[in-house]
């Protein structure tokens, strides 16, 4: 049981990194609180696994500190950190039975056989491995093996945290769902800090209370699934989470008006001031497709657009719209008629985000 703090942590696989692009983990601060269910979400190669291996001690960071309950553990090997980690592909001890596999970490810790027995039976029951307990691990199916791998982490009730590195990759979809629920259940029952690495937003949002989104070696946002969806702190979060991703419009201020290309975009004066004050030339407005309001007739503050394509997805449709040279996506419910040819859209001010140099700038009405 521990709170895991990462302080000014950075890691590079190169002996003498020169630029930020040489770093697998760019300098970051982060705290995983005791008892939380966290997901670490990001595309392949963004540094998720590196970060996990640093927390577990398989990798020593190039700089910065890893603290467990305020104590520096940088140079402690995984054996002494008391942490459990489940890997992407199942790791079982072939010649041992399932029971012995689950008992292995406890035996290494010198626990008494009666205690071990009790603990193993409890975890086997939760993971539905009881009928397999006497079988050799070698002869199990891939998902049974992965359950054994997870079980070896879960039997250790005193662990600081359990880290999962895309543990459900080899599992069938329907079983995936079941195991994810199982993990949540175990989390509730044992109150262990869990960090779950994945590149699947659905997996992350169903498992975790809070998600850390990683991009190019940094955590760009840490929040609840809802926060990530409604107020992405970084353009990458907007793009990576949700399907289709957030609409991002390059804008600039000309003649006191916010323009996207030649089109004047009506925004609140506050937002216009923020954009006008910024010296950056990388300013974008972001809005989720479901927040874009679509009308068939012109409304106050609406913009005329061309309907390029409409994709009917059952309960909703995704419209592809052309605003000048820019393409936008909008999502409308099935009970709203799909406009043809010309349409009018409006951006609700509360849903509009301003991104300067990729990061969201806080505006007042939020």
């Amino acid at each position: 049981m521990a709170e895991i703090t990462l302080r000014q942590l950075a890691h590079s696989y190169l002996p003498s990194p020169s630029g930020p692009e040489d770093y697998a983990i760019r300098e970051m601060d982060h705290v995983w609180h005791q008892g939380g269910a966290y997901a670490l979400l990001g595309p392949s190669g963004c540094g998720k696994s590196t970060l996990l291996n640093i927390i577990s001690g398989l990798l020593e960071p190039s700089s910065g500190e890893v603290l467990f309950d305020g104590e520096r553990v940088n140079s402690l090997p995984p054996e002494q950190r008391n942490i459990a980690q489940v890997f992407q592909f199942p790791v079982v001890y072939d010649t041992m039975t399932v029971f012995d596999n689950l008992a292995f970490p406890l035996r290494n810790a010198g626990m008494s056989e009666t205690q071990i027995r009790e603990k193993v039976l409890e975890v086997a029951d939760v993971l539905e491995l009881t009928p397999q307990l006497k079988r050799k691990a070698k002869n199990l199916t891939a998902d049974e093996k992965q359950k054994v791998s997870m079980g070896r982490g879960l039997v250790r009730e005193d662990v600081s945290a359990i880290l999962f590195d895309e543990p459900l990759t080899v599992i069938d979809p329907q079983l995936k769902w079941k195991l994810r629920r199982k993990l949540k259940e175990i989390h509730r029952r044992f109150n262990i800090t869990m960090v779950y690495v994945t590149h699947d937003q659905l997996e992350a949002s169903t498992f975790a209370d809070k998600i850390a989104v990683m991009y190019e070696g940094q955590v760009v946002q840490f929040g609840t699934p809802r926060e990530l969806y409604e107020r992405p702190a970084h353009t990458f979060v907007g793009y990576f989470i949700g399907s289709p991703g957030m609409n991002l419009l390059d804008v600039s201020v000309k003649d006191d008006q916010v323009r996207c290309g030649e089109v004047v975009v009506p925004v609140a004066p506050k937002v216009r001031d923020i954009i006008a004050r910024s010296s950056s030339d990388n300013i974008r407005l972001g809005i989720r497709p479901d927040f874009v309001e679509v009308f068939e007739t012109a409304q106050e503050d609406s913009l005329a657009v061309e309907v390029v394509n409409a994709q009917d997805l059952g309960t909703y449709s995704i419209l592809t719209l052309a605003l000048g040279d820019v393409t936008l996506k909008a999502r409308i419910d099935e009970d709203q008629a799909t406009p043809k040819g010309k349409a009018y859209i409006r951006f609700p001010q509360a849903r509009l985000g301003v991104y300067i140099d990729e990061y969201r700038v806080e505006t007042d009405h939020e």
Binding site: I83, V91, Y93, T95, F104, N108, K134, G153
Partner: protein
């Protein structure tokens, strides 16, 4: 739908059958033929049935050669397998050192049997051989032509030197194929170095070790050239192994009937031991019925 049964496709295996006949069945049947007859010349022969077999099995010289042979094979296996695993574990895993060590370890395997015998014959000579001379200088009366212990010891060291690299190479390749995650998981589980070897490395080496042990057993059980060149089977008959006895009988004495019977027994022993060993190992990996 009427299905027409037509077994003509079986004819397609005829070429394969012909090949196997030439490579295995015909040579073997020649031996079988000789083993049940007493052949004097092209026109004179007597059917003897199992007589040669009975005679061979009761021959005290052959019995002791057989025991010696088992003792030899067992000894070299007991030394070469653990030693080979040990060397494989110590070999560097990457960089130029890995290639260099790999070449050094492989060298003995490239030397022909007869040459190995000759090398050791000279190496162990008391007057000019480094080992023979050195041991004498150290005060040990080393003489492989007089002392059976010296002869035995030398043959075993020679075989270990020649063939341990095979086990080491097989194990090295086996070790290289273990994914890094296994070692990481073991560290997370706080496994000791011994537990890593016992529960990760050794199980993952099972398959290559089965091949290694089988090869080494068959090889060592048929050993001929090396002891023949080194000791000629002596002193006395203390290092006369099975194939040397067979050669003496078949080529030296032209006893074709008995040597054919003996060859078959020899062949069956190797087959039987290999089969028993293989089956035993494969059974170890199965689940015990009814639970243990």
């Amino acid at each position: 739908m009427n299905k027409v049964y037509d077994n003509k496709a079986w004819l397609l295996i005829l070429p394969m059958l012909a090949l196997v006949a030439f490579s295995a069945i015909i040579p073997l049947m020649t031996v079988v033929n000789y083993s049940v007859q007493d052949v004097f010349d092209a026109n004179t022969r007597f059917f003897t049935g199992t007589e040669w077999f009975v005679q061979m099995l009761n021959d005290p010289a052959l019995q002791s050669a057989l025991l010696r042979q088992f003792a030899f094979s067992l000894t070299v296996l007991c030394i070469e397998v653990p030693l080979g695993i040990g060397i494989a574990l110590l070999m560097p895993k990457k960089g130029w050192q890995a290639s260099a060590v790999l070449i050094l370890v492989t060298l003995p395997l490239l030397i022909p049997w007869n040459v190995v015998g000759s090398i050791w014959q000279i190496f162990t000579r008391g007057d000019i051989g480094l080992m023979g001379w050195g041991l004498r200088e150290l005060g040990y009366e080393y003489n492989i032509t007089r002392s059976a212990v010296d002869a035995w010891g030398t043959i075993i060291i020679m075989d270990v030197w020649h063939w341990t690299p095979l086990i080491a190479l097989l194990c090295y390749s086996g070790l290289r194929s273990i994914p890094e995650a296994y070692y990481q998981a073991a560290r997370i589980d706080r496994a000791s170095r011994w537990a890593v070897f016992r529960f990760i490395q050794l199980p993952k080496l099972t398959n290559v070790l089965v091949i290694g042990v089988l090869l080494r057993f068959m090889h060592s059980f048929m050993i001929y050239a090396e002891p023949f060149v080194l000791t000629g089977g002596g002193p006395g008959s203390s290092t006369t192994f099975l194939s040397q006895s067979l050669t003496t009988m078949a080529i030296g004495q032209q006893d074709l009937g008995p040597s054919a019977a003996f060859s078959l027994i020899y062949f069956l022993i190797i087959l039987l031991v290999s089969w028993v060993f293989y089956t035993a190992i494969m059974n170890m990996q199965k689940d015990k019925e009814g639970g243990a």
